[in-house]
């Protein structure tokens, strides 16, 4: 085998490996982008809650839980119409999310609810001249408050809070580092090839590899049906999870389409450049 052949083979292998690494970096970048845009982003959650009717569903849930409490506490269901309203739930939820994403303890502020509940209760007792014992009333208010804050809590947040926060910090760094490294690889491929069309060949390989991987992921989550099979006690949270699943599916198909187009473009650029090279032959 001639020296040049060996060098050529070695060069092919090295550039192919670089191309693979580029594909990997591009893929990881897309995952990080997705995570930042959809998962660890407060605005994404707020949009999701708006889109999936979260606040209204949550208000219904809380009301139903309180009505059940009322059955044992001597309160008719009508009482609870004035006690929970979706504006209050919305504000308290937003405050909770805000605190959470800014690294504060995810504490739900239920003082407003408690005050409202207590005053409505006292009014009810006066109006109906009902029997009431102070300790028992206090216990009822405490329990109602616990139901309220327990319902507003998002179980995911508590258990995943460490991951959320560290991912939120790390993801942008990862994207920056990967982008820089990708750029380095692009430049190596460009300047390491005497014939520029060959560089485009490797760019095409990388993007095509990324396209296929994203395609596989998109197909997987579509067939798995997103989050439809998740088990959650709260219907409001479930609907939101399903919404999230749907937007994740759409996002990944969009990424797939993007890389498909880029791959095709690179291929044609490669083909054209190559033609020009051989045309000058």
């Amino acid at each position: 085998m001639s020296n040049k052949s060996v060098k050529k083979k070695v060069r092919n292998v090295v550039f192919s490996v670089l191309s693979f690494v580029l594909a990997l970096f591009l893929f990881m970048n897309m995952i990080c982008v997705f995570t930042i845009a959809y998962a660890v982003n407060e605005n994404a959650w707020i949009d999701l809650m708006n889109a999936s009717n979260y606040y209204a569903d949550k208000t219904e849930e809380i009301k139903n839980k309180l009505i059940v409490l009322g059955n044992a506490g001597g309160l008719k269901p009508e009482f609870f119409e004035n006690v929970v309203d979706s504006i209050q739930v919305t504000n308290d939820t937003r405050a909770y999310m805000d605190a959470y994403f800014h690294g504060n303890d995810d504490v739900i502020d239920h003082t407003a609810f408690r005050q409202n509940f207590k005053s409505e209760l006292e009014r009810y007792i006066k109006e109906n001249n009902a029997k009431a014992d102070d300790t028992n009333v206090e216990y009822l208010v405490d329990t109602a408050e616990n139901i309220y804050s327990g319902s507003l809590e998002i179980p995911l947040f508590k258990s995943l809070s460490d991951y959320f926060k560290s991912v939120g910090r790390i993801a942008p760094i990862i994207i920056t580092v990967l982008s820089l490294l990708s750029l380095v690889i692009v430049l190596i491929l460009l300047f390491g090839n005497k014939w520029k069309h060959r560089a485009f060949k490797y760019y095409y390989f990388a993007c095509a590899g990324t396209f296929l991987s994203l395609f596989a992921v998109a197909v997987f989550i579509t067939v798995a049906g997103g989050f439809q099979n998740i088990v959650l006690e709260s219907r409001a949270l479930y609907n939101m999870a399903v919404s999230f699943g749907t937007s994740a599916i759409i996002a990944f198909w969009a990424f797939t389409a993007f890389f498909l187009i880029v791959s095709f473009t690179l291929y044609f650029v490669y083909a054209n450049k190559r033609k020009k090279v051989f045309a000058t032959d």
Binding site: V68, L69, N71, A72, T143, I147, S151, L232
Partner: protein
Amino acid sequence: MKKISAIIVALLIVAISAVTAFAAGINDNEQKVLDELKTSVEMQGVEMNWPAAYVNQAENYFNTIDMTSDQAEQIIAVIRSGKTQLESTGAKNIAECTAEQKKELMSSLTKVMEPVNGTASFDNVSGEVALKSESGEVIFKAVPTLVAKDGGKSVDVNGKTTDGGVIKITGASADMLSFILIGAAAVSVIAGGVFFAVRKRI
């Protein structure tokens, strides 16, 4: 990702068992499991038992299924390994297990439920753990705890007494501040029971 056939079968089961309709009766295999459930766990030198309420829930569930001897053997093995896991935590009761140990117990539970498409869920408002079969039917629902041999109350991690969720206020547990945990053995038994029961139904 489950096979399509499994999904269809699951749907059929949901449709058919929409009304839970199985003949009553505890056969010998089920009795063996119940006897095993009544044996004690040694927590830090003190003999603790599963509350009668737990064992009764198992019995009520077993009355709706038919267990084979193979299934019983496997379930008993699961109970015994769960007991070992509990005894090795070094805690006096479930409440005193560390957060890590509780997480481990919880994930063992989830793993046990997986093969049968059963679920384990926790309601953070009521503090109860609910085990459900593939069709969504509740098999076991309680605030997990162990009781000393002479019965009586248990104390939860906040120092509040709990009766394990027997007497209700509103249909939810009486103790709103209950901790999150599973008595691995009792629960995995029930889970195991579901596993083999559902298998049998299929």
